[in-house]
Structure formats: C-alpha cells, structure tokens
Amino acid sequence: MNHMAIAALKTQRRNLVQSMFDEGVLDNQFNQLQDLQDSSNPNFVEEVIALFCNDAERIITELNRYLNDQNVDFSKLDSYVHQLKGSSSSIGAYRLKLACVNLRQASEERNKEECAGAFNSIRREYYVVRSKLQVLMQLERHIVNLENQQ
C-alpha cells in the first residue's frame, strides 16, 4: 500500500514543481539547488529555503518601514532590494526576482508611489513562492518518511 502512496505523492510533487516552472514562480536555478542535495546533505534544499525565507521576511519588514517614512531613503531601500534580488535569483524564485527588479527601477526614479506598488508585488510574490515551497517540502518529507518505512 505504501508503494502506491509513495507513487501518488511523487506524482503530486512532480506536478507541483512543473506548475511552479510553468507559472514562472521557479526557474532552472531551483534545479541547481536540488542537484546539490545528496545523501551526505539530505536536507540541503529545505535548509536553503528556510534561510531564504528568514532573510526575505527580514528584508520585507525593513522595506515596509522605509517606504512608510515621510522622506523615503531610496538608497537604503535599494540596498535591501538588491539583497532580496540576489537571494531570489540564487534559489530560482523567478517572479520574485522580477518584482525586485521593478522595485529597484522605481527606487532609482525616486517614485514613491511606484515603489509602493512594486513593493506590494514583492510581498505577493514572496508569499506565493513561500507557500508553494512549503507544500513541496511537506511532500518531500512525507515521501521520505514512507520510503524509510519500506
């Protein structure tokens, strides 16, 4: 029975990952990350994702703070977005990376309104990629648990 359950979960996982690629939520860099995981580092992807999320949430909080200032410090804003863009790109969070590019653009133009809009996109894209990755990691754990029971 486990055998069937494992197969079903693997199909679910495959479909989820494919949909994330199809929607541009992830790009090929995510494959690079998966390739770095092996038996000597079986939790690598999960660890990187956890680190990424921690970092991203810290940055989003800071961005929100700076954007709510009367006089927006655009250069501080830019340096935070640069960090988030870098991390997003490194884990393959494609749409989130693009949202960061937009915020950098708006920040360069010193356009507070556009920055606010771009920031909302960042927040939205971050929560999309985070929630899908969380589901993915749950599926992975479930599969590993069942496989270990075999």
Partner: protein, 132 residues
C-alpha cells in the same frame, strides 16, 4: 596555480577556496557547490574581511569574489589583494550586466568573471582555468 605556503593549516593536497559574499543564501550555496567538488572552503562577508584573512597569513587556491558588498566591495578588495602580491585565482561573481561595470571589476585584477547565480558548470569552468 598552487597556493603559496599554507601557514599552519592542514597539510593536504585538497584545493582551498575563499567565498566573499555579503548574502547569506549565496554563501550557503557557494559553500555547498565547493564542498561537492571536495574543495575546502571558508566564507567571509565583505571585501575587508577577505583582505584581513590574507593579512593573517592564509592563502587560497581560489577566491570567489562578489562585487557589491558593504564596507569594502569586490573591486576594491581585488585591487588590494593584488597589491599585496596575492596571485590566487580570483573569480568575480556578480549580477551586474553593464559592460563598463564588469570591465572595471575585471581590470581590478580578476582572472575570471561569471554572472550570478553561480552554477556547478560555471564553477567547474572556473576551476579548469586554475588547472589548465
């Protein structure tokens, strides 16, 4: 291009590398990439720490140098390391795409430049330049 005299480190023929990057996620990924290739590596968070670690007497076969970092950026760090006489392979890694900016980085003393994000194949091509 072997490292010049390892002072008080492990005596081994393993390649060594220094990761210079202010981004935690990148440091973790670069560390893993290098580990997978059997390359002993250490990470620092900005150009000044990269210079300081060399001042303390450590040398590395390979330095992966990010460009944009606080305190001291990759361009300045590369310049200083070369002025100090460091001949290690320095590979710049950056997200910058403007030719002018990349050229400035290369002219500071890089042996190679790769656009981020770093992948296994990009890293292997850097390493071939050391051995080739």
């Amino acid at each position: 291009m072997a490292a010049q005299g390892r002072h008080g480190g492990k005596k081994s023929n393993k390649m060594t590398a220094l990761v210079v990057d202010d981004n935690t996620v990148n440091r973790m990924i670069h560390h893993r990439l290098l580990d997978n290739l059997g390359i002993e590596n250490v990470a620092v968070v900005n150009g000044k720490e990269a210079v300081d670690i060399h001042c303390s007497g450590k040398t590395f076969d390979l330095i992966l140098m990010d460009m944009d970092m606080p305190v001291m950026n990759g361009i300045e760090a590369t310049r200083q390391l070369r002025e100090m006489g460091i001949r290690s392979m320095i590979a710049g890694v950056s997200t910058r795409s403007m030719e002018r900016e990349i050229r400035e980085f290369i002219e500071a003393g890089l042996d190679d430049y790769q656009e981020k994000p770093l992948t296994m194949s990009k890293l292997i091509s850097i390493i071939h330049k050391i051995n080739g």
